[in-house]
Subunit: 306 residues, 2 copies
């Protein structure tokens, strides 16, 4: 096991961090946070989500955010989408750098709640995704696989079940004459442990040697940073993270954010792993996020003396 020499941080705080808030965050505040994040050196920022405004009111200004954010050269700005319609909606803004990401999950219950489809339906829909990507001249980049480490509704999954969803997705992409370069294993409910993570990452690589594995980790039960380190030990060099660890709501039972961007970056940098981010600038962005949210965020570094 060798640590990577550099790590890519994909910042999702402006999307994932805001989406579950009870209080309304103004478009101006979102733009201010995106601007602050643009100054951190991070190269990928997910700025909003193409989801139904009646389901996620916090994202009802998605097009407005996309229209108004100020682009920093060298930074990729993206929006989340959960179906081909959302991808096209994002593309129609002509202001984003979205890649072709499929969205799926291992948990039937969660996928039904989150994207209103079954696992089989989500795989059957892959040709429709690919058509949407092609209509914008894009190739499939990856599969965002939610609940890869288990689910509060359905418990833990055997690795074989996770591998089967990945295998079916790859086959469906290949049947359409294309390739799937990446899978992002998402610990949506924060149920992973370091040992489980190492085992699953190892199993995915053993089965699909050409597949690039990235991680999207939540800190619901306090194991998030241990899981980041386990990922690093496996050589994983790409993590979705959230400024200040925002996400979920500190007062809502069961909700918790992604692992904290600047805490992950600090961990990496202190171990000699380059992240390209400026920790001071990231801590400033976290303090801004705290002011916007109005309550201390889970992140530690921005509250420390560093």
């Amino acid at each position: 096991m060798t640590l990577p020499t550099s790590v890519r941080i994909r910042e999702v705080g402006a999307r994932e961090g805001f989406q579950t808030l009870q209080t309304v965050v103004s478009t101006a505040q979102k733009l201010e946070l995106i601007a602050a994040l643009s100054e951190t050196g991070v190269r990928e920022i997910e700025i909003t989500a193409m989801v139904r405004a009646d389901k996620v009111p916090q994202m009802s200004d998605a097009e407005e955010v996309i229209r108004q954010f100020v682009r920093k050269p060298g930074v990729r700005y993206t929006a989340l989408y959960l179906n081909p319609r959302g991808f096209v909606r994002a593309e129609e803004t002509n202001r984003l750098d979205n890649e072709g990401w499929l969205y799926g999950a291992v948990s039937e219950t969660f996928l039904k709640k989150n994207a209103n489809v079954s696992v089989a339906e989500s795989i059957q829909a892959i040709p429709e995704w690919l058509t949407a990507f092609a209509s914008r001249g894009k190739k499939p980049q990856g599969l965002m696989l939610s609940t890869a480490f288990g689910c509060n509704y359905e418990g833990s999954f055997p690795d074989s079940k996770v591998l089967q969803v990945i295998r079916s997705s790859i086959e469906k992409v290949e049947q359409a004459g294309s390739q799937l370069p990446e899978v992002c294993l998402a610990d949506t409910m924060g149920r992973a442990t370091p040992e489980m993570l190492k085992r699953l990452v190892g199993a995915v690589r053993a089965q699909f040697p050409s597949l690039y594995v990235s991680l999207h980790l939540h800190d619901t039960r306090g194991s998030g940073m241990a899981n980041v380190y386990a990922g690093l030990e496996m050589g994983v060099d790409c993590f979705d993270t959230s400024v200040g660890g925002m996400g979920g709501c500190p007062f809502a039972k069961g909700a918790a954010g992604n692992v904290c961007s600047e805490d992950v970056a600090y961990l990496c940098e202190e171990m000699g792993i380059a992240t390209n981010v400026n920790l001071d600038a990231y801590c400033r962005a976290a303090r801004l996020a705290e002011r916007i949210v109005g309550t201390p965020l889970p992140g530690k570094l921005y509250k420390s003396c560093t």
Copy 2:
């Protein structure tokens, strides 16, 4: 590297968690938390500290807490002390299960602030410690070594400097015809990284093969749980932890608590490592601690659905 099969949790929240609070916690509230912790299955609880009331007002009721707490069979109750006088003061209550712990540090600046002695003086004082232990029929158990992973005042230390403090302490104990069984490496300022921790634990064991190594970790910069996992990977099976991750003050710059007891226990149990604690009971104790402190604590598990 093999994970341990079981882990000892030494609960320090009732001492370390309260000592830096700005608000006064009543003796009754402290006793209530100690009682809740006694129901978790944890076998070692540090309940207060024998320190100067003018320096740490929160600990001015130490003797009162010791006099009143209700003992649960099978649980060891201890108090922190930083000098032989404190040890004797604790012993004179005749209600504690203290072992003979030496207190030291690697950082001159920190040790001066915390215990008002130099590193050399702390080592020179070891015969005095041993005399105090012997006066109560106790042998030396360990050296609590603060700032083993660096210090905000002095930066990082080479492993050789840490090893030298341990070596000098061991020699001093042995010159008095006794043995030092344990060193607890304390990351007082939360500066450790998993790689640094593995390297130092490995170096200590290589130099002192018969010395038992335990860990006291803080989560100041978000690396605490990654460091716990790194310790487990090194086979470390004893950690000082704090209920709810309490300690420091969420609104005080630079202060942060120990790694969170129930989050550490959850991490261990989910990986098949026995801790003897009941997670539900620990989460109840954390929620009680939150009510006493009056603000959300850093711990994650007690806020999750689990």
